[in-house]
């Protein structure tokens, strides 16, 4: 559990929130990894979760993952919807018996005093159709605000897990808006107010939201994206044949992001949508199977 002497003071800005969570989970024995360097819809897609959740080896890791949801772009006009935002993810496999106490410790660390607030665990089962993954858990409420998604992974890539991972996902912007009492994400202090160059989240990301929304909804070349989808799909299959699950999985991530962009461009009909999701899921499944084979061999 947390050692008060090494705990930093309560965070006052976005980056301190990240630093606090990293330090906290590092003290819990997690590797602190860096973001996966590809576009993905959620931290779960990071190999540190999707692939490491499978197989017999224990795995504790935490990291920030930029998450891209092209369809959620609002040209910077919605106070809390973004096409690019950050998730902080901790994964503890196998889930330790005191995982909820450890999680509650992280809330204390970021400045949520549980003697002042109302923390509730509300049923929320998680499912990712594209990853063929599901788990049971809760959304964690703080005074009615969803601050975390907590999931015990049961299946990934259609495969039942050997050891159950507890996955803890914080939506950083939303959490920060709550902690720092801001009505819009763009007003969040990114660094400390007493910095030489104090900047807000909007200073850093507003233009990006505007331009990327235009790209996602208006200018993304759909023919090219359809091509990319098919290319990634083919490449993935070829790499699986070569028994290279890690590069193959990157192609699966690529296909998934191409699909998300095409979906945002509104060029995939409702009927086709399901078939694209299934195609991505098939890729995820073969990658997971191939990865698992390497793990079992190594073990």
């Amino acid at each position: 559990m947390s050692d008060p002497s090494s705990a930093r003071a309560k965070p006052t800005c976005f980056q301190e929130l990240i630093l606090t969570l990293q330090e906290y989970w590092a003290r819990q024995g997690c590797l602190i990894l860096q973001p996966f360097d590809m576009e993905m819809g959620a931290g779960t897609f990071h190999t540190a979760t999707t692939l490491r959740a499978l197989g017999p080896k224990p795995w504790y890791a935490a990291y920030v993952q930029p998450s891209r949801r092209p369809g959620d772009g609002r040209y910077g006009e919605n106070p809390m919807r973004l096409q690019h935002y950050y998730q902080f993810q901790a994964i503890l496999k196998p889930s330790p018996p005191d995982i909820l106490e450890r999680y509650l410790g992280s809330l204390e660390a970021i400045g949520i005093d549980t003697s002042l607030h109302d923390i509730r665990f509300v049923e929320d089962d998680w499912e990712s159709p594209t990853l063929g993954a599901w788990g049971l858990g809760w959304e964690v409420w703080c005074d009615g605000m969803e601050v975390t998604q907590f999931t015990y992974f049961q299946q990934v890539g259609g495969i039942e897990v050997d050891l159950v991972a507890g996955e803890i996902t914080y939506g950083l912007e939303r959490l920060a808006m709550y902690l720092f009492d801001k009505k819009t994400v763009y007003e969040l202090p990114y660094n400390r107010a007493d910095s030489d160059v104090p900047l807000t989240y909007g200073d850093v990301f507003l233009q990006n939201e505007q331009e990327q929304s235009a790209y996602n909804f208006e200018y993304a070349d759909t023919e090219m994206l359809f091509r990319h989808f098919v290319d990634a799909e083919k490449e993935c299959g070829r790499l699986i044949e070569k028994k290279l699950p890690l590069p193959a999985y990157e192609q699966c991530i690529k296909a998934s992001h191409s699909f998300n962009l095409l979906d945002a461009r509104g060029v995939i009909s409702v009927a086709e949508r399901q078939s694209y999701i299934l195609r991505v899921r098939d890729l995820a499944k073969v990658c997971c199977e191939a990865w698992l084979a390497t793990q079992k061999k190594a073990a």
Binding site: N78, P94, S95, P97, T114, S115, L116, W138, D143, G144
Partner: protein, 683 residues
């Protein structure tokens, strides 16, 4: 006599599963006790978000040997049956069983003796079996284990007569077994450390000190009382919602109701939006002003006693609500910038069902049907029906309904009113999904009726056409509800709307008949009477059908009705018995009897009574005067009774006479069957 206390402590159990799980635990352990020959007086089960608790009183400390007999298969039965019997009885071979003649042949019997002994020795097995059999709607494994439970299981209290039972549950993998013990934990935030208990009374007292109210009924009472008090002080009324109360009681171990305020800027958003937003997303109770309209206060139930008296919690919740309602207000403002009419093209992009096309196509079908239905309704404006039908699904592509699907229809009505469309059109858009349940209100305005019926009939006809019919347990498209909706709208509005022109498939019409029977049974109408009227086959006018049923039911409750039914039964039985002997008879006795062959006065009386009945009944039926028709039947009773007294039907030496008398009896049956098939009525 001693007490068994069982507590299964876990991480947070979904609210919707708690009550059921506690009941299941009680049932399984009690069944286990019975199976082990252990008696008890009373069992009570409780659930909180973190624990299932069972206390059973009046269990004897030991039990006697019991021997039990099990009958097996017939001697000489196939080996499979024998093996099943041996396995079930716990025998190794048939040498351990005995043959006995039951009078219906020789059967194998097993005499199984259950050893008695200390109850404490039997209980761990019962608990273990109950836990394994407990049917969670969804369960999971955790850590390195393989055990399935709703969420990770943390500890078990198993005390019998104040002493710990020996036992444990193994989650598997590398995880330590969870031993039966005498300790639990209190509230997640308001209590620290383990709590040791000695019996149920001690347990509940200590839990209370540790800020856990064990009994869900008590938590509900605390929430309700607290919420009412807060509301009274704020001079608003609490909107009491039993489903929400149940759920909230399952989210807290120590309920603390608090009163918050809705920001004034949102009070012009439709109240339904505020209520749904508060209830579905935040589990708040809404409140009302003296005139019944929505007040600007809400009740949130916290699971904590905060050291600032709840100030932070209320502020936090108000902030969250503000964010939620900002979204809602944004949709409300945005949605009104576009008319419903202008949204229609977007319905072409929304798939209703893969085999049934888009919502746009569905709307076309509904409009066509609504138009036809409107022709059968008095005083309805066909233009309004057409407009309402075309616009009824337009709100599906608004931002608000995208966010709150449960507001479909409701929002369409508001947007239509905002556009100054006729009120009847707006109301029909709002009402067309109704009734959605047996207690939901039925549309009664003509335009609403037309569109609501068209919506349901289209769903039924369409899903029927692609073979998606409900089965015993599966009804994914809620077609039973749709059929019941049609029935209620027609009957409650007394609509003269024959279904046959709309419902072409015979089995769909039969489906309506089935739903009607279920609905009438719930209203206390005898199902055999409904069957008797339905057996006429041709009746597809529900109002007329109901009138027939009512007339028949009241007729049959009179002395004359009962006697006539007996007479009918006698006549029908004789004819049927004769028909069995002679396959060609039915054809021979069709039609009226030959007057010249009516010998006895009693025969003649019946014939003329029948003629009189026919004379009266035909026009009565045509005028739908079913009570009048029944009354005419009553006059048949005396002559028929006399006929049975004095006349022998099966006169063996005069075949023509016999045939003519059978004709007469057959005619009694035929005449009565014009109002209902009396053979379906149970005497």
């Amino acid at each position: 006599m001693a007490e068994l206390l069982l507590e299964l402590l876990s991480e947070e159990i979904p609210a919707r599963m708690q009550t059921r799980a506690a009941d299941d635990l009680k049932r399984l352990v009690c069944d286990g006790l019975k199976g082990a020959g252990v008696g008890f007086e009373q069992a009570r089960a409780f659930a909180t978000p973190r624990r299932l608790t069972l206390v059973i009183d009046g269990i004897p400390a030991s039990r006697d040997d019991v021997s039990e007999e099990k009958r097996g298969p017939r001697v000489g039965a196939p080996d499979q049956a024998v093996q099943g019997f041996l396995k079930g009885a716990g025998l190794a071979s048939l040498d351990q069983a005995e043959k006995r003649d039951t009078g219906k042949g020789e059967f194998w019997f097993a005499v199984v003796t259950k050893k008695g002994g200390l109850t404490a020795d039997a209980l761990p097995g019962v608990i273990d079996a109950a836990m394994k059999a407990l049917p969670w709607p969804k369960s999971m494994k955790w850590g390195s284990g393989t055990m399935q439970w709703v969420r990770p299981l943390q500890s078990i209290i198993a005390l019998f007569d104040g002493k710990g039972l020996k036992g444990e549950v193994a989650p598997g993998g590398q995880m330590a077994p969870i031993a039966f013990g005498a300790t639990t934990r209190g509230h997640r935030f308001l209590s620290k450390g383990a709590i040791e208990v000695s019996n149920f009374a001690d347990y509940t007292t200590k839990l209370r000190t540790a800020h856990v109210i064990l009994d869900p009924a008590e938590r509900k009472a605390i929430i309700l009382d607290g919420a009412r008090k807060l509301c009274a002080e704020a001079q608003v009324g609490l909107h009491e919602d039993e489903g929400l109360l149940e759920e909230v009681a399952g989210l807290v171990e120590w309920p603390v109701p608090m009163l918050g305020t809705i920001d004034a800027q949102f009070m012009d958003v439709p109240p339904e939006v505020l209520i749904v937003s508060m209830k579905a997303h935040l589990r708040y109770f809404s409140t009302t002003k003296a005139d019944g309209t929505l007040a600007n206060r809400f009740v949130v139930v916290a699971n904590n006693v905060a050291r600032d008296g709840g100030k932070t919690i209320i502020e936090g919740n108000e902030r969250v609500l503000r964010a939620r309602l900002s979204d809602a207000k944004f949709f409300w403002d945005q949605d009104r910038k576009q008319t419903l009419e202008a949204r229609l093209p977007a319905l072409r992009q929304v798939v209703f069902h893969a085999k049934l096309g888009t919502q746009a196509e569905r709307v076309e079908r509904i409009a066509k049907l609504a138009g036809e239905i409107a022709k059968a309704l008095p005083a309805v404006d066909a233009t309004e029906v057409e407009q309402a039908a075309r616009l009824c699904k337009a709100d599906l592509v608004t931002g608000m309904v995208g966010e709150f699907p449960e507001l479909q229809g409701v929002m369409g009505r508001y947007y239509a009113l905002g556009e100054k469309l006729p009120a009847a059109v707006a109301d029909a858009i709002g009402d067309h999904y109704a009734p959605v349940g047996p207690n939901d209100r039925c549309p009664s305005a003509p335009v609403s009726i037309a569109v609501a019926l068209a919506d349901k009939l289209d769903a039924l006809i369409s899903f029927w056409s692609i073979g998606e019919k409900p089965t015993g347990s599966r009804d994914p498209f809620a077609l039973r509800r749709a059929a019941l909706g049609v029935i209620r709208i027609v009957i409650e509005n007394k609509l003269r709307l024959p279904l046959r022109p709309f419902v072409k498939a015979d089995d769909l019409l039969a489906f309506f008949a089935e739903r009607l029977k279920v609905q009438m049974r719930e209203k206390g109408v005898r199902h055999d009477i409904v069957d008797a009227v339905l057996a006429l086959g041709s009746e597809d006018d529900l109002v007329r059908l109901l009138a027939r049923v009512e007339a028949l039911q009241s007729f049959l409750s009179t002395e004359a009705g009962k006697n006539l039914l007996t007479a009918y039964g006698r006549a029908a039985n004789i004819v049927r018995a004769e028909e069995k002997k002679d396959k060609g008879l039915a054809a021979k006795i069709a039609g009226a009897p030959d007057a010249a062959l009516l010998e006895q006065a009693e025969e003649k009386d019946v014939a003329s009574a029948l003629a009189e009945v026919e004379r009266v009944v035909k026009p009565a039926l045509a005028a739908e005067d079913f009570a009048g028709a029944m009354k005419a039947f009553a006059d048949l009773r005396a002559p028929i009774d006399a006929l049975f007294d004095k006349v022998t039907v099966n006169v063996t030496d005069k075949p023509e006479l016999r045939l003519n008398r059978l004709k007469l009896l057959n005619q009694i049956r035929a005449t009565m069957d014009t109002v209902a098939d009396f053979s379906k009525i149970e005497g």
